[in-house]
Structures are given as C-alpha cells and as structure tokens.
C-alpha cells in the first residue's frame, strides 16, 4: 500500500517547509553565492509562487527545497525533519515519499506510455508493480487523461504531457509539490488547464510551490516571494 503523509492535525501544525538562514554558495572559480541567507516558512495547504528573473537564484531555492541540492549553511526542516545531516538514502527517501517534482521540460521518458511514466513516480517506494499500475491509472483519471493511459508522449500535446508529469508527481501523494516553470513550454490554453489543475490540487490540501517569472502563474498562488540576486523577499499575498 502506498504510504500517505496527511497534513498534521491543527493542534500540532508543523510547517511543511521551515528554512532558517539557508545559503548556497559555489566554490567556483569564480566563487559565487547563489542564495543569500534565506528564511522561509510554508504551511500545509499553502500555494506559494517564487518569482524572479533568470539567474536570480529561484531555481537554486527550488532545488534546495526539493533536496536535490544541499545548503551551504543554515537549517532546513521538511515536514519537521531536519534534513541537514541526512545521508543520500534518507534524502532520497524523502524525495520519493514527500516531494513531487514538475519540470518545465516535462522529463517524460519518450518510449514509455503515459501510465508507465506515471508509475515511475512510485518506483523507489517499493510498491508492487500492480499497485503502481493501479495508482497510475487512478491519477491519470484524476488529471483528466484516462483515455491516454497507453499513449506515448510523442503523440500528446504539450499540455497533456505536463498533466502526465503532474500525475507522476502526485502519484505518491506527496506533502509538497514543486513546480519549475510548469507552463514555460505551453501555449496559453494549455497553460490555463495546467494552472487550473495545480489550483485544484491545492484546493484538495496539497502544498504547492511554483517557480515562475510569469505574472499569470504567480496570480494563481495565494502567496509569493521574489528572488533577486540571491536575496529572497519576505513572503506576501500574491496579487489577484
């Protein structure tokens, strides 16, 4: 059975993301500070947009949030777990069970069907093959692609591909959905559908963080932060 991570009870509310003084610097050459001391708190059910121009450090922040990169300094609690001292196995385990990723370029495996791509999201959780397939069909149904289970990505539109990618990200019922420019490669109609889907998922209680320099994307969020030159602004309500 797929383990789920439901939001904690109100009485024991723990932020999904709790960053304090997190930095990311590269030795170079030349030495470079991609993210200056950052504190960020994201509660369960929040919908946060991270905005900023290219090279501002927003992708660095997203990578740190998604545990694919390691902070140089600072403390990061994911769902109450201090990830600072964790080894590769535990960090990978957290990615497999609590974090879902959506990429601008979809990152679907071209030779696999939609259902097989979605099932890949559960591969590293030691679920039975039948269970993975069943769950893949379930989430494809949820994102409105039940008819395309056996379709290859090459036969789909950009919007459909991104919805398959979202289905893969939510197949494991994560606590946090991280989206990196999810509409960057889509036309406006498909972008709308994808943003609608992200909104629906957030409405169902999923914590969503979207990185984008698109104002329309940020408008769908309830909160936003700006990143410029590695400095993250305090969070505020997103413009409507």
């Amino acid at each position: 059975m797929i383990p789920t991570h439901p939001p904690p009870e109100a009485a024991e509310v723990v932020p999904v993301v709790d960053m304090a003084g997190v930095t990311r610097a590269y030795d170079g050459p030349p030495p470079f500070v991609a993210l200056r001391p950052t504190s960020l708190e994201v509660l369960s059910g929040d919908y946060l947009a991270i905005r900023g121009p290219s090279g501002s450090g927003k992708s660095t922040l997203l990578n740190l949030l998604g545990l694919v990169d390691t902070p140089t300094t600072g403390r990061y609690l994911l769902d109450g777990i201090d990830v600072g001292g964790l080894d590769d196995a535990c960090r990978s385990g957290l990615r497999a069970t609590r974090i879902g990723f959506v990429f601008q370029a979809f990152h679907l495996i071209g030779q696999r069907t939609a259902a097989e791509n979605v099932a890949l999201g559960l591969l590293y959780r030691r679920c039975a093959r039948s269970e993975r397939r069943e769950r893949a069909h379930e989430v494809l149904d949820q994102v409105g692609l039940a008819d395309l289970r056996n379709a290859l990505p090459s036969t789909m539109s950009g919007g459909e591909r991104q919805r398959v990618a979202i289905a893969r990200a939510i197949a494991g019922q994560p606590r946090l959905l991280l989206c990196d420019e999810p509409t960057g490669n889509l036309d406006s109609a498909n972008a709308e559908r994808v943003l609608d889907l992200l909104g629906e998922l957030n409405d169902q209680g999923l914590t969503v963080i979207v990185v984008s320099h698109d104002v329309d994307v940020a408008r769908r969020a309830r909160l936003e932060v700006d990143v410029r030159d590695g400095i993250v602004s305090p969070r505020r309500a997103a413009p409507t």
Binding site: N63, I81, R95, H107, Y124
Partner: protein
C-alpha cells in the same frame, strides 16, 4: 528526527527497469551485443571443435597404433635361454584387456640365403626381404588379407612343419608362382613349402616383404635375430598403456627387467600435441574478442549515461539513490553481456555441429563450456558496466536536471 522510510528499489523492479530500457533501444542493444556474441561464440566454437577434433584423432589413434604392444627379450638375462617363457602367448591371453597375442620375431639365418623356385639365391636383408617367425596368434594381430592358399595354424606349429607364408612383395621377389604346384623355397638347405600369400595388413606392413614361418619351426632350425624372441599383442582401445606396465610382471615376475615392452605413445599426449598449439591460438583470439566486446559494452553504456543524463536527474528527483542509478546501468550492461553470451553460445554450438556434420565427425561438446558461456558473458557485461555505472552514480541530481 529521522525519516521513517528510505528510498528502496526491489531487485525485480531493477531488473524490469533495466530490461525495459534495453528494449526501448533494441537496435543499439543488438549492436552492443554483437561483440559479446562474436567473442563467446568463437570461444564455444573453438572449444567445441577442439574437443571434437581431439575425439576423432583419439578414435583413429586408438583403433590402430594405440592398441598394440611389442614385447622383446631385453637381452639382460644371463645364458642363452630366452627371457620370454615358452608359454608366454597363453599367459598374455589371460591378461585383462589383451585381445590377442602371438610370437613374432625376426629370424637370423646365420648367413644362409633364401632360394626361390627357380634357384636364384636371395640374400636376407637385400631390398628389405626378411624371415619372420610367427605364431597363428601373431597373424590375428597383423590382420593380413590372404590372396592365395592359407595361413599356417596350430597343427603346423605343433609339428614344427617347414611351411611358409609369404607377403605379396616377397612372393613376387622369390617368384613362387601359383600355389597349386606347392612351390618350395629354401632357407640355406632347409626346404619350406609355400602354403599361402597375403597382401594388405592392418599392422606390421614389413611382413609384406617377409617370409613368415612357424615360430616352433624357427626355434628348432634358426636363432632369433637380435634382440631375440618377442611377441606382439593387440589390446583393447585405451588399455595399451596399462597392459604394457603389467606384461613384464605377468611374464617374468621373478625378473621383470629381462622383458622389454614397447608401448605406444599415450593418446593423451598425442591429443595434446595435435591440438595444443591450435587451441591456444583460437582461445587467444576468442579472448581478444571477449575483451573487445567488453570494451564495446563499456563504450556504449558510457555514451548511454551521457545521453540519458536527464533521465538520471529525473530518477534522482523521484527518489532514486545514487546506488540505484549505478545498479540500473550495471544491470543493463550485465543483461547485454548475458544475452550476448547466451546467443553466442547457441551460435558456437551450431558452428560445432555444422562443422562436425560436414566433416562427418561425432560432435563432442563439454556441457560445462556451453553452460558457462552465458555466465562469461554476464561477467563481461558486469565488468564492462562498472565504470559507466560509477560515472552515472557520480552525477549530482542538480547537475543532471540542469543538463
């Protein structure tokens, strides 16, 4: 607080993912396998053909030379009596593995000549003409084809009759003519009636140029030529070496050193000599092929790592550990090696069978070679995939996603 679960990947899922990845690029997988197919195929074919050829050599060798033992008086005994006992033929017939034995030695006429029907004396030794003393058992060893008359038997031996059987060349040399006239030849002043002639022998072709007389007659009239009396023994295939070791003790347990035995060279040695050099050469070539195939798999897998860097990033983002990524590439290369090894083994077996059919040989294949060949492919793939797998595992997820 430590998370409750770590990233896990079941072996079945790892295998499934690896095979799925290979089937996604069937053309490339097939081309990558080709090197291993060639290497393992040539290895199996080489070993199979070597075994088969060895068996043929052994069979022919065993059927002829390897089944004869020659027994001689070693000449170390004191006195004039022969070291070979008078009942040696009967004694040897009781030795396990002896098919037949008979007295057989060259006679020393002491300077006397052999005179044919028309009186022209022929010197012994001229043009290879010899006089051989033999018992009927010796003819069973020699295996002559009688062209006229008959071979002498126990009756002639028991009564030491002065009869002779001539090889076809000796008969022509002595011009004995038709046997109906009961031609007589003389050895010195002793007349011998020619009762038969023969051509084509299984063994001892020198008898075709010989006058063969009964051993008992020779004992009574002439001395044996050096090194003295002797016997020839036909053995069961493969028993010659063992029998050669036993004969001195069987004939002369009191003085085994006085009996000299000439055994054929060991079939194993001959086999090794015949095929040793060729086998080494082919095995070396097969080894080079396997090495090249390993290099091919390593190269292709390394290219695949670079091509699939986005997939590596995706898998890491989905929760794969670096060791899971390494295991996937290692499993893929190992699967390629195993498939190549299995196909190569099949092709190798087919080659051996086809060559055997063409040459009308009996196919001889060591089952261990056929069973171990795919395993060698597995090892080749495993070794070849080690470095690419290490490289894949070393890629940081953030780098892979950025690529």
């Amino acid at each position: 607080m430590r998370p409750r679960s770590v990233s896990q990947l079941a072996f079945g899922d790892l295998l499934g993912e690896a095979l799925l990845s290979l089937t996604m690029r069937p053309g490339r997988a097939a081309l990558t396998c080709l090197g291993t197919v060639a290497g393992i195929g040539s290895l199996v074919a080489t070993l199979g053909l070597t075994n088969t050829a060895e068996a043929q050599v052994s069979g022919r060798f065993d059927a002829l030379a390897a089944t004869e033992v020659v027994v001689r008086d070693s000449g170390t005994s004191a006195g004039d009596t022969s070291a070979i006992p008078p009942d040696a033929e009967q004694m040897l017939s009781r030795v396990n593995g002896v098919r037949v034995a008979g007295y057989y030695w060259e006679v020393d006429l002491g300077g006397r000549t052999v005179v044919g029907r028309w009186g022209a004396p022929t010197e012994i030794g001229d043009d290879g003409l010899t006089v051989i003393a033999a018992s009927p058992g010796a003819f069973d060893v020699i295996g002559p084809r009688v062209t006229a008359g008959r071979i002498f038997d126990d009756f002639h031996v028991a009564d030491s009759l002065q009869v002779a059987v001539l090889g076809v060349s000796a008969a022509a040399r002595l011009d004995v003519g038709a046997l109906d006239a009961q031609p007589v030849i003389f050895m010195g002043d002793q007349p011998f009636t020619v009762i038969g002639t023969f051509d084509e022998v299984d063994r001892h072709p020198e008898t075709l140029l010989s006058v063969v007389i009964p051993d008992s007659t020779a004992r009574g009239l002439f001395r044996p030529a050096a090194p003295g009396e002797g016997l020839i023994v036909a053995t069961a295939p493969g028993a010659a070496q063992q029998i050669a070791a036993e004969i001195p003790l069987a004939l002369r347990p009191d003085a085994p050193d006085e009996v000299a035995v000439l055994a054929p060279p060991s079939p194993d040695q001959l086999r090794a000599q015949v095929s040793g050099d060729l086998t080494s050469l082919f095995l070396a070539l097969a080894g080079v092929s396997v090495g090249i195939s390993a290099f091919g798999i390593a190269n292709t897998t390394l290219v695949a790592v670079l091509e699939r860097i986005n997939e590596i990033g995706l898998r890491r983002a989905l929760g794969a550990r670096s060791r899971h990524v390494a295991a996937q590439f290692l499993t893929e290369s190992t699967a390629l090696g195993t498939i190549g090894g299995a196909v190569g083994a099949c092709i190798g077996v087919l080659v051996v069978v086809a060559v055997s059919l063409l040459r009308q040989w009996t196919t001889v294949l060591d089952p261990m070679v056929v069973l171990c060949a795919p395993l060698l492919g597995t090892v080749t793939g495993l070794v070849a995939g080690a470095y690419p797998a290490y490289k894949a595992a070393s890629i940081e997820p953030v780098e892979a996603l950025r690529a």
